[in-house]
Symmetry: C2
Subunit: 359 residues, 2 copies
Amino acid sequence: MTELRRRPSLASIAAELGVSTATVSNTYNRPERVSADVRGKVLAAAAKQGYAGPDPAARQLRRGRTDTVGLLLPAEIGYAFRDPATAAFLEGLAGACAQASQNLLLVCSPAGDDDGTQVAHAVVDGFVIYGVAADDPRVRRVAERAGPCVVVDAPLEMAGADWVGPDDGAASRVLAETLIASGHRRIGVISYSLGGSPYSGAAESGRVDRVPGSAALQRIGGIRAALSAGGVGELPVEERPENSAAAGADALHALLTRRPDLTAVCALSDVLAFGALTAARQRGLRIPHDLTVTGFDDVPEAARAGLTTVAQPHIEKGRIAGQLLFSQGPSRAPRRHTLQTVLQMRATSGPPRAANPLH
Amino acid sequence: MTELRRRPSLASIAAELGVSTATVSNTYNRPERVSADVRGKVLAAAAKQGYAGPDPAARQLRRGRTDTVGLLLPAEIGYAFRDPATAAFLEGLAGACAQASQNLLLVCSPAGDDDGTQVAHAVVDGFVIYGVAADDPRVRRVAERAGPCVVVDAPLEMAGADWVGPDDGAASRVLAETLIASGHRRIGVISYSLGGSPYSGAAESGRVDRVPGSAALQRIGGIRAALSAGGVGELPVEERPENSAAAGADALHALLTRRPDLTAVCALSDVLAFGALTAARQRGLRIPHDLTVTGFDDVPEAARAGLTTVAQPHIEKGRIAGQLLFSQGPSRAPRRHTLQTVLQMRATSGPPRAANPLH
DNA sequence: CGATATTTTGCTACCGTTACCAGTGTAACC
DNA sequence: GGTTACACTGGTAACGGTAGCAAAATATCG
């Protein structure tokens, strides 16, 4: 008799009870506006029909609000979970979301098809963009969408977007200045992707001199600034498309093969630095006697490994990104929150093997 | 003149051009059905009005499909990003989602308020439940919702849900048998939360003898089975509410204080084992001479630390969870996918310090 | 040139809720 | 008894789109 089973809805249970859909809706959304009697009946009928509460999609359309935050990560999404710095950021962001009763939507872009379809389809109120290079096509899709946006780390120009991150340039500059002060003159850099199409090899100046579209370029800029202030010459950069220990190891070999005279290598992330350390030891180099190696991020493992690195508060970064997003009004001036960084001098750095006699 | 600015919509750009909303919709969803001429005009008008494409919420309501996967994690969500095993799982799952052009929604439950509101509001087609204990109230909310579901690791009974995980009981049993074979008789366990309300201390039998509602209980069951098969007596268990190195260290101290005669300690996760190793060394114990320590998971750090542990394929686990979810038909028998585990004997295990003279 | 095939475009029901406001019924008060 | 107040409940118009098919426009063909 029951007409052929459709999915239950507000209407179907309203019909069964002979009340209005509005009453059923109120039972779920403002229980205090419905008498205990009716509420009980509604809940009973719902249980009977197997109705689990208002359909989230319809509710969102109607309310114009999703209570969900979108998160845009670097294209190869697995990376986000391999990198301890990103993981810590996620921890902070997820915590902020939980506190604000928001869910967190990870935008998963299939390889290649990066026209931003996934961004366009994401049902979210706003976006957090983490570690994505300025030229990523998905960024444009985010900008087109209405709604608040927070950019993390990357130096993106986005109208109305808030920003949180460290001062990458300044922090790197301090690091390089410290190395120079301790006598280093021949310094090299190992970098993850500088943006644009994936590239592996020596980063010629064409790649490095662009307008900074990524934190990596800013860090390189900081190191260069220190070098030229110290009257030291050019800066070899070895780039790898990904941020992994394997890439770091590989890059160190390539860099030292090309420039055997380097006394210090600055990796632009701790993960790269770990790989570089492994590779250096494999080459029989003593750290830091034969080679100084530094990282960036100060992930938990860095302390254990005694890595000299630049510390930044990752969890806090995530929390602040969330707070900025949730506190955005309809239209205000973009805010920038610069995070404190601390240079952590540890065991992988020291004076160069052949200290400059002038010092 | 332009009537007071509303948000642009299909209708508003259709009105501007004098075409139908259907045509505008087709421009976005089936471009090949619209002449290049009209398509161009639509896109131009859209750009002019600042329209970024069909509203995702409306589209979802209409299509009855969200192309989004929900992920339910243990209540304290930060944990998911601190634990390398979970991170690897996420990597696999996110990869599967990307391949299937699905986004991934992390359900972030605010502390305390675990009535499952966030689950009910999640706009998803299906759910993956990872490492959640059977008695978590949010699990019920998932079960009530229509749509496919995959349970990972935990021994939940959920109608129609697929399952993927290792055979925790069997794997632990093999581990314990190996320890017994090498002479150990007095073995202890360090566990993360066994489910139920948070508890810290010696897990009396009331907690351990329950019907298994978590992987931890299954692992303990496996160890016990090996012990009783080997004629060895009871099994002290030290429980901590969370899965962290600090908890592992703390638990080891408590366990050895209570039972100084133990020759082997099985931590139910690598993370706990790392903490236990630190604590053991702090107590002046030589590993494995004075104490054998084992883990579970074989996270990347385990190999570096030389930890004896049970390996399971985390990334694959995530990938399979995704594939199971995406391949669920309207109604079929639940599938179970058991993952291969491998006992990795490394440097933290060996014969007990005072080998039984009978051997 | 009429008829048929092939593109293009438009019509029109919903999708399942919720916000707003208007009712109705009961209790309290003068 | 007649108001006024209060507590519930109901009506209904959106929210912004999409699918499927009908209609119109254009192209193809003998």
